[in-house]
Amino acid sequence: MRQRTRMQRQAKQAGAGGTRIMAIVMPLFAGAVALGGWEFIVRTAQIPPFVLPAPSAIGTALIAGFPSLAASLWQTVQITALAFGLAVVSGVGLSLLFSQSRIVEMTLFPFAVILQVTPIIAIAPLILIWVGFDHTDRALLIMAWVAAFFPILSNMTLGLRSADPNLLALMRLYGASRLQTAWLVQMPTALPFLLSGMKISGGLALIGTVVAEFVAGSGASTGLAWRIMEAGNRLQIPHMFAALILLSLLGIAIFFLLSLLETLLLRRWHDSARPQAWR
């Protein structure tokens, strides 16, 4: 009997492992089929590259243009990472302030919402004028920060407010200070909320950077978005796709890194990140 249950378990594990492999293989297979179909259609229908380049042409453009594209990628990575870091620090800081004072929250939260609901693309020209055209980098940074800031603030504020009222009562019973309550109960409660806000915010920081580069346009910007505009103006569509691929990869990398961070920080205790032991 015990022998049989063990065999069943092994079979189940093998099944689970199979599913995991399939989850990687199947999308790769579908992607390869799509690329093959794309290449085939472009070649047989003889579609000109300035309308739709073949995947092989895009690959060639990516390899040939890589040194200069890498420099642009690095520029975009820097702005995105810096804006994201600023968004995390300022969002967490402000939400901690909100959690300590209801009046500060009531006073400032509406302005955070206004900042969020106003499309950044609409305030971009204003920001460019304010920081001056010789400091385009700062304008890019501010716009990407504005885009990335709100999910952090709103998730962290919600998280800090979600602490179990009985745990808070327990802290009062033992005479805990505000700082102890914040550090030992409210901040750990808020951590899963913050991490999920960071996943949204990381993507938005990249979007903010790209939008800002578009708007800053012919200024000093040399990021990937500018390369897309440039390639478009010159009808170098394969180069456009090459820059686009790098942007996608950057977005994927951001999401993957933040998911990894989430798993590492939560796997020991939070339901969302624990392995499903009883399935």
Binding site: N166, L170, L173, L184
Partner: protein
């Protein structure tokens, strides 16, 4: 009747006296209307009543988590932080902390050194039958074990008073019986004064020296019923005629309340 009168005047040294306690909820409805109760040192008293009778509210007032609208709570010696252990209806553990760190939380707040915290938390876990579970996180413990961790946390500061707010209501009957036995052993061994909120007649009769029957809307104590059986009681007590008789008396008092 004389037995009930005697129950009103608690034997032994007075620990705590509630006089004329009134409390309104935030919406203005009366939660408690004129609670008078004296609690003796080392006694096990249950607050028994239907939901909404204000028994949990009363417990929170005693713990100092809330203030009464009127009336006075007079302690023989004013408790300091760590002198009252409180067990909530839910285990109320930190899900990100191990059993040991959960139990050590009150010591950490009291500024006790890490090494001492470790020793005392492990001792408290052992006292509730959880040796070897110090490193376990709450999600890997059963409902009964989580409640044991909560009890260990309440006892880790060695408080003379333990307040429990329907702690075993969510547990299955077998686990509840085990925890009842362990709780009464701990209370007897340490000479704890226990104020125990419950809505289970059998649980109240099994554990308590006195049962305060509460009526609802507004909450007041309608009757005090003594259980004159020496503690700690053996599990067989649940099957004895005296147990059934007292349960019947308590149930009748609840209906009349």
């Amino acid at each position: 009747m004389t037995r009930r009168a005697a129950a009103g005047e608690a034997a032994g040294q007075g620990l705590l006296r509630l006089s004329g306690i009134h409390k309104r909820f935030a919406d203005g409805t009366a939660a408690l209307a004129g609670i008078d109760l004296a609690v003796a040192r080392g006694e096990f008293i249950s607050l028994l009543g239907p939901s909404g009778c204000g028994k949990s509210t009363l417990l929170r007032l005693i713990a100092g988590l809330d203030r009464p609208g009127a009336g006075a709570i007079t302690w023989h010696t004013q408790p300091e932080s760590g002198d009252i252990g409180f067990v909530f209806q839910d285990p109320t553990l930190l899900p990100w902390a191990s059993a040991e760190h959960n139990v050590a939380l009150p010591l950490r707040l009291a500024g006790i050194r890490r090494r001492v915290r470790h020793e005392r938390a492990c001792a408290a876990l052992a006292a509730v039958g959880l040796e070897g579970f110090a490193g376990h996180y709450p999600h890997s413990l059963s409902g009964g074990m989580k409640m044991r961790v909560a009890i260990a946390r309440a006892l880790v500061t060695a408080p003379p008073v333990l307040l429990l707010d329907e702690p075993f209501a969510a547990l299955d009957e077998m686990t509840r019986h085990e925890l009842n036995d362990d709780l009464q052993q701990l209370a007897a061994a340490r000479g704890l004064t226990v104020i125990f909120v419950t809505h289970s007649v059998a649980e109240a009769v099994y554990l308590s020296r006195r049962i305060a029957i509460m009526s609802a809307r507004p909450g007041r104590i309608s009757t005090l019923i003594p259980v004159d059986v020496p503690a700690p009681r053996a599990p067989e007590f649940r099957h004895q005629a005296a147990f059934g008789a007292i349960c019947a008396e308590v149930s009748a008092a609840l209906r009349a309340a």
